[in-house]
Symmetry: C2
Subunit: 458 residues, 2 copies
C-alpha cells in the first residue's frame, strides 16, 4: 500500500472531515419546497469543490427540479471509464426533538459524525470527491482511469430529473461501469458489495367525506369519518401476519438462487440481536416462512409513513375532518414492476372504499427493483481493493432500500454498478441522529483510491 494517493489522503483526513461538515451544514432537503435554495447551494459548493480538486468540464445542469452536477477527467487513454454517482440531497430531519444534537450542525461523538446526510449520501458521495482529489493531487493532476462524476439533488424524492438526463444523454455519460456509494456494510469491519436493490412505489391515498370539517357532536353518527374509512382500507391491505392482500401482488416475485440463499445463511446475523439493537420492538413482524434477511432483501413490503389531516395538536378537538390522507409505499423485488404493482394496488384500494366517502390514489414516485451479476472485472477489482484496505474477503448482500438510478444506468447506459458503501447498520438513515462512522469515511476514501488504481492497472 505504497500509493502516494493513499498517503495524500491520510495526511488530509482532518481537512476532508471539516469540508464534509461544511457540506452537511447546508439543509438540502429535497422534498420541502422551503429548502429549494439550500439544495442549489449544496450543488454550487460541490461544483466548486470539483473544480478545486482538478476535475474538468464542471457544470451545474439546471432541470425543472433540483440541479445535477457534472464533471469529468478523460485523459487516461485506453483505460476504462467510471461513472461516479452520488446524491447531495437529504431526507427531512423531523422529528427534530429526537435529535441529540441539531441535524444540520454536524457533531462528533464516539468516533462518529452526527448530522442529517452524514452517511446518506453526502458523506459517502464526498468520499468519491476526496479519493479523486488524492489521486489528482499526488500525481501531478492525473487519474489512473477516466472518470465522470454525476451528482443529483433529488434522490430522496424519486430522482426524476437524473433519470430523464441519463435516458436522454447516453453518449455524454458513456462509461464502462458506475460507482455508487449509497449502501452499507453488512457488519463493522466487513467489506461489502451490494448486488441487489428493492424497487419502490410511493403513493398517497386521500379519503374525502364531508365537504367541510364538522363538529363530531352535532354530526357524529351521520357524517362519514375519513380516518375510520382510511383505517379500514389500510387494515385490509395486509393480514395480521403481514402478508399483503393485493390480488396478484406476489405473482412476479422471483426467489433468490439457492447459492445466494446459502451465502446469506453464512453471514454473521442473529435475528434476536438485530431485533434488540437495531429495531427495539417487542418482536419482529413479517411474512411467515421467511428469515428477516429474506423479508427485507428479497420480499416485497408495504408500509405507512404518516396519515396527515384532521387535528394533531395537543389535547382535544372534536372535529370530523373533511379529509384524511395516508402516505403508503411498497418495496418491490425482481421481477415485479412499478407500473403493474401500482395498477393492482390502486384497483384494490378503490375496491375497498367504504360507503359515504370518495377515494383518490396517487403515485408520488417509483423505482424498479434490480439484481446485479457479480461476474464482471469491476466487481473483481473492487473486492481486491477492499481486501487490501480491510484485510478481509468481501461479502455480497442485497439491500432492502431503493436506488432507482442503478436500474437506469443498466437500462440506458448498459453499465453495471459497483455498489461499494461504507455505512453501518446502526447509522439511523432517514431517522433522527443519523451518523457516519468517521473511520469508515477515511477507509472508504482509501478503498475507492485503491479501486480506481486496480481498475487502471488491469
Amino acid at each position: 500500500m505504497s500509493s502516494p494517493a493513499i498517503a495524500f489522503a491520510h495526511k488530509s483526513q482532518e481537512r476532508f472531515l471539516e469540508e464534509l461538515k461544511a457540506l452537511l451544514r447546508i439543509p438540502s432537503v429535497s422534498t420541502l419546497p422551503e429548502h429549494k435554495a439550500d439544495v442549489r447551494r449544496a450543488a454550487e459548493v460541490l461544483a466548486l469543490d470539483l473544480r478545486c480538486i482538478g476535475m474538468e468540464h464542471v457544470e451545474i445542469i439546471d432541470t425543472p427540479g433540483h440541479p445535477l452536477v457534472y464533471a469529468d477527467w478523460l485523459h487516461a487513454e485506453g483505460k476504462p471509464t467510471c461513472l461516479a454517482y452520488g446524491h447531495y440531497d437529504v431526507q427531512p430531519a423531523d422529528p427534530l426533538d429526537e435529535w441529540k444534537t441539531p441535524p444540520f450542525e454536524p457533531s462528533e461523538r464516539d468516533g462518529n459524525l452526527y448530522a442529517r446526510g452524514a452517511v446518506d449520501d453526502k458523506g459517502q458521495m464526498y468520499m468519491h470527491l476526496k479519493a479523486l482529489e488524492s489521486l489528482l493531487k499526488s500525481s501531478g493532476g492525473k487519474l489512473p482511469i477516466n472518470v465522470r462524476v454525476l451528482l443529483e439533488g433529488e434522490e430522496e424524492v424519486g430522482g426524476e430529473q437524473i433519470a430523464k438526463f441519463v435516458k436522454e444523454n447516453p453518449e455524454r455519460l458513456k462509461a464502462d461501469f458506475a460507482l455508487v456509494s449509497d449502501t452499507e456494510m453488512f457488519a463493522p469491519e466487513l467489506p461489502t458489495l451490494c448486488v441487489g436493490l428493492r424497487g419502490m412505489i410511493y403513493t398517497e391515498i386521500e379519503v374525502r367525506g364531508a365537504m367541510t370539517d364538522l363538529h363530531s357532536g352535532m354530526y357524529g353518527g351521520a357524517a362519514p369519518n375519513p380516518f375510520v374509512a382510511l383505517s379500514q382500507i389500510i387494515a385490509a391491505l395486509k393480514d395480521r401476519d403481514g402478508r399483503i392482500q393485493i390480488p396478484g401482488f406476489y405473482d412476479k416475485v422471483k426467489s433468490p438462487s439457492d447459492d445466494e440463499l446459502q451465502a446469506w445463511k453464512r453471514l454473521p446475523f442473529d435475528e434476536e440481536h438485530y431485533r434488540k439493537t437495531e429495531i427495539g420492538s417487542p418482536s419482529l413482524v413479517g411474512e411467515p416462512g421467511f428469515t428477516a434477511l429474506e423479508r427485507t432483501w428479497a420480499r416485497p413490503t408495504l408500509d405507512v409513513h404518516g396519515m396527515p389531516g384532521g387535528f394533531i395538536g395537543a389535547g382535544a378537538k372534536t372535529v370530523i375532518p373533511a379529509k384524511a390522507t395516508a402516505k403508503v409505499s411498497m418495496r418491490l423485488v425482481p421481477d415485479m414492476t412499478a407500473e403493474d404493482t401500482f395498477a393492482r394496488y390502486k384497483a384494490f384500494v378503490e375496491s375497498l372504499k367504504p360507503a359515504g366517502v370518495t377515494v383518490d390514489v396517487r403515485l408520488i414516485n417509483r423505482g424498479e427493483p434490480m439484481v446485479i451479476s457479480t461476474d464482471n472485472p469491476y466487481i473483481d477489482a473492487a473486492t481486491r481493493a477492499m481486501k487490501e484496505i480491510w484485510g478481509k474477503d468481501t461479502v455480497f448482500i442485497r439491500s432492502g432500500g431503493s436506488i432507482p438510478i442503478v436500474g437506469d444506468f443498466h437500462r440506458y447506459l448498459n453499465v453495471p454498478s459497483v455498489m461499494m458503501g461504507f455505512g453501518l447498520p446502526d447509522d439511523n438513515l432517514h431517522a433522527p441522529n443519523e451518523k457516519f462512522h468517521i473511520a469508515n469515511f477515511y477507509r472508504g476514501i482509501d478503498s475507492i483510491i485503491r479501486f480506481f488504481e486496480e481498475v487502471g492497472a488491469a
Copy 2:
C-alpha cells in the same frame, strides 16, 4: 312588547356587535398552551364588562387551569335565581387555509358574523351579558330576578375546573335554574329548546413499534409499522355499517320515549337536504335502522379526529415511524357512563393489539350524557318568551354535542338547565368559517330579556 329593556337593546345593537367583535379578536384557544395568556385576557375583558353593566361581586377565580369569571345581582327579593352559564374559550382554528377571512378578525358577510367563537360560545354567552345590561340600564339598575353569572375558559377541553368549582361551592352558586346558551335552533326562525345532550369520552391510542424511526427500505418487512397496527385497531372498532364493536357498548343505551320520537318525526327535517347542504358527502353513514336524528341525538358514536405521528409533509419520506397516535372520541347517551364506557373501550383496544407493538390507551376528557324533563316553570317561561319574540311555538330537541356542565348543575346544584340557543345548523361549529347569524344575536338578546321578565313576573 313595551319593555324598556327591549327598547334599550334595540337602540344598542350596533354597539353590542362591536363589543362582541372585540371579544372575538382574542384567540382564547383553550387547548393550545401558547394561547394561555389569551384565554386569561378574554376572562379579564368579560369581568370588566360585567362590572360596567352593573353586576356585582365580579371576580376572576383562578384555578389550576383557565380562570372562571363570576358575578351576581341578588336584590330581587322573593324572586327566583338564575345561574347564567357560558364559556369564553374556543376551539383551535386550524385548518387555517380553509377560512375565507381570518378566524380572529371578525368579518360581516350576508348578515352573518364570521369568526372562531362567533356562535360557540362567545356570541351566545355575550347575549346573556347584553340582556342583563339592557335590563339593568333601562330600570335604574334593577333586574326582575336574581342572577348569578358563571363563565368558564375550558369548555372545549373538558371543563374540569368548573366541574370541580360547582361540586365544591353549591351554596355560593345556589339557584333555581340554569340558563345555558350553547345550543342551536333546529331551523331558521324556529324557536328551540334543547332538552338532551350526549356525553363524551375523548381518548388517545398510542401505538409504539421500533425504538426509533427507521428507513422503510432497510427495515420494511421486519420492523412493525405502528400506523398499520393502529389502522387495524381502528378498523376493528366499527363494522362496515358503522355499528361499534366494543363488547357491551350498547348495553345501557335507553331509547327515547315514543312521544319524543313522534315529536322528532314532526320536525321539518329532510335527510337528503341535510346530507347535501350540511354534510356534502356522497351518502350518510351510521347504524342501520335509525334515522339521522336518532343517530346524532340518541345513539352513541365513535369518531377519529386525527392520527398524529410519522411524516405528514409534502412529497415522500420513507420512514417507518417509531410511534403513531389516534385521537378517538365517543359520544354517549343515557344511561351510559363515561367511566364504564372508557373501561370497555380500553380493554377492547388492548385486546386488538397486533404483534410487534405496544399499545397505550389514555382518557383525555369526559362528560356524562343528560336528558332534562320539560315539566318545569322555567321551561314554560322560556317558551312564552320565545313565542313573543319569534311568533312561533318552541320545539324541543336534543343535541348530539356535549355540555358536561349541564349534568353537573343537575347533580351538584339540583337545578334544571334551560338550554336556549340561537345558533343555526350551518354555523360551522368547530370548523373553518364559523359564523353567527347577526339577527339571531339580536333576537337572542330580546328572547333572554323577555325570559327573565317572564320568570320575574310569575
